[in-house]
């Protein structure tokens, strides 16, 4: 039973990352591209990490997964904000 949940989470995570890549290649503006990649990639990686942690299911792996998820959700908006600000105030 847990295998079904795990495989569904891994499949959905990969599908969200694929959707992010399709958005990156199809949109025609820098801000639209960042809108596609930042959010969809964060959510896809969250699903993938929860699936892999359910597969191993030990305390160390859950702790590392929590660290990675907190770090991704802290830094992905910061990176997108930094890129957008460098585009807003560009001189070259």
């Amino acid at each position: 039973m847990i295998d079904i949940v795990l495989l569904t989470l891994i499949f959905l995570g990969s599908a969200f990352i694929l959707v992010a890549a399709i958005g990156l290649i199809r949109f025609n503006d820098l801000y639209s591209r960042m809108h596609a990649t930042t959010k969809a990639t964060s959510f896809g990686l969250l699903l993938l990490i929860i699936g892999v942690s359910l597969f191993f299911n030990t305390g160390t792996v859950w702790l590392k997964a929590f660290m990675v998820v907190v770090f991704i959700y802290l830094t992905a908006p910061l990176a997108a904000h930094s890129v957008a600000k460098s585009d807003k105030t560009k001189k070259l």
Partner: protein
């Protein structure tokens, strides 16, 4: 049946991540500005994290989780450094 189904789903996940990698690489090659390439490289780092996560399930080895931590740290530093350089140039 269970093992066969598991292999099919994991192979399909690898295939989707590989297609995503190819699309991001196309954006890196033909991106109009440098910022598009930075965004695409950030996505490539995330796709690599996904690859390593699925691969750690395939070979059943939990030590590969450390690589994901390191890649998440490095990719953020690289993105912020490159965009700050472009801002101050």
């Amino acid at each position: 049946m269970g093992h066969q189904f598991c292999n099919i789903i994991l192979t399909f996940s690898f295939a989707m991540l590989l297609v995503a990698f190819a699309l991001a690489f196309i954006r890196i090659v033909k991106g109009p500005t440098a910022r598009d390439r930075i965004v695409a490289l950030d996505l490539v780092a995330s796709i690599t994290m996904g690859f390593i996560l699925v691969y750690s399930v395939v070979i059943n080895n939990a030590i590969y989780f450390d690589i994901v931590i390191v890649i998440s740290l490095i990719s953020f530093i690289g993105t912020v450094a490159t965009s700050t350089y472009l801002k101050q140039k």
